[in-house]
Symmetry: C3
Subunit: 158 residues, 3 copies
């Protein structure tokens, strides 16, 4: 199998593990998918496309992600709903110095306490994956969301 | 390619074949994805998380699945709607005695006779895949659903 | 890795690249996923199942696809909404003379200018993939849609 196909498969499994942790209440696993000096943000598509720096969530290292998990567990927000992240359209960019850029679309379906399921958020991940000692981690993940009405619940990682 | 990556790819193709049969009215194929002594159930997440045994559908062998298909065809329920199963977040657990545990999230979109599409059900598969003579089959599949309002239509396999 | 598994992986990456182009406003890339003498159509499931020839969009070569892109850009319809194509259930048929048939389900989520996200269209792709000089392209792609209410917006490629 050629290297490009193998990289696609590896990064695909990484992306599926990532959303599996979010969907199955393994929130403490979430920071472990990132490098220690990672960049994570959630930003509206309108701002992203215009080059505006106005993310609604902005973390510049893994510790900030861990702090966020502690806050979320304390606020107990996460357990009240169920999220299902669907990803599709994964494509890889060029590999450079052991870093590969990659994008994919996501759709998050939310089921609330009454058991009603709605489209909660759609968007695209703009990621950079770093390979270190054979392990793949996100050195950069930007969730660019299309949907506007979801902002009140944005405390939850995407 | 390492064995773990290959297993992920193999089980991924199995999962996609499974939902393809359900979505394309190949209901008679459905039991063939299971071992003869399989366990299949559909259970609400609330009960599953609490360890309660209260599935809405419960089959303990392949013959029960076949009987179910005959019933569904006779009742003619299946043809009235179109389902599209989306799966994401496939992850593998440990392999033990030729059996691999695996989970993934699912979202089923229902389009009714009037052509209206809605989120019908979300949930997660908790599966065990058995390998026998190079063929992969489900020895156990538990569909744990989040959505409550869907129970009236639950005669259809997930 | 056996050939069947490798073909599934290759065609899977092709399908994800295809929807990535559609979802990320790379509409000019869309025709490049097809062979020069390709067949592309969008047809309601009711007509497709009945063997009726009544597609809502029908192109019989790559140039017609390019013309369509020019029209769409001129009409400026495409930029007003964001689409997210989710695909699942990819299965391969037989390979014959370097052509492989394949199907998968799709769900398109539309987010409008007000930021509201809804299920826009569900359906299945019935495709034929041709391999030429190691490159895979669609020689035939039929988008068979389940959803009826979406017809007014059908100018956009699926």
């Amino acid at each position: 199998m050629d290297d490009k196909l193998k990289s696609w498969l590896e990064i695909s499994t990484l992306a599926h593990q990532y959303i599996s942790a979010l969907d199955n209440d393994q929130l403490e696993e979430w920071p472990t998918f990132f490098t220690t000096d990672c960049h994570y943000e959630i930003i509206p598509k309108e701002n992203f496309d215009a080059g505006l720096k106005a993310p609604v969530i902005y973390c510049t290292n893994q510790k900030m992600l861990r702090d966020r998990v502690v806050s979320l567990r304390h606020a107990n927000i996460y357990e009240k709903h169920t999220y299902r992240h669907m990803i599709s359209g994964l494509v890889l960019g060029k590999e450079h110095d052991g870093q590969i850029t990659t994008t994919c679309s996501y759709v998050v379906i939310l089921t609330d306490q009454e058991g009603e399921s709605v489209v909660y958020q759609t968007g695209a991940y703009h990621d950079t994956v770093a390979r270190s000692d054979g392990v793949l981690k996100y050195s950069r993940k930007i969730a660019v969301y299309d949907t506007l009405r979801v902002q009140t619940l944005l405390a939850t990682p995407i």
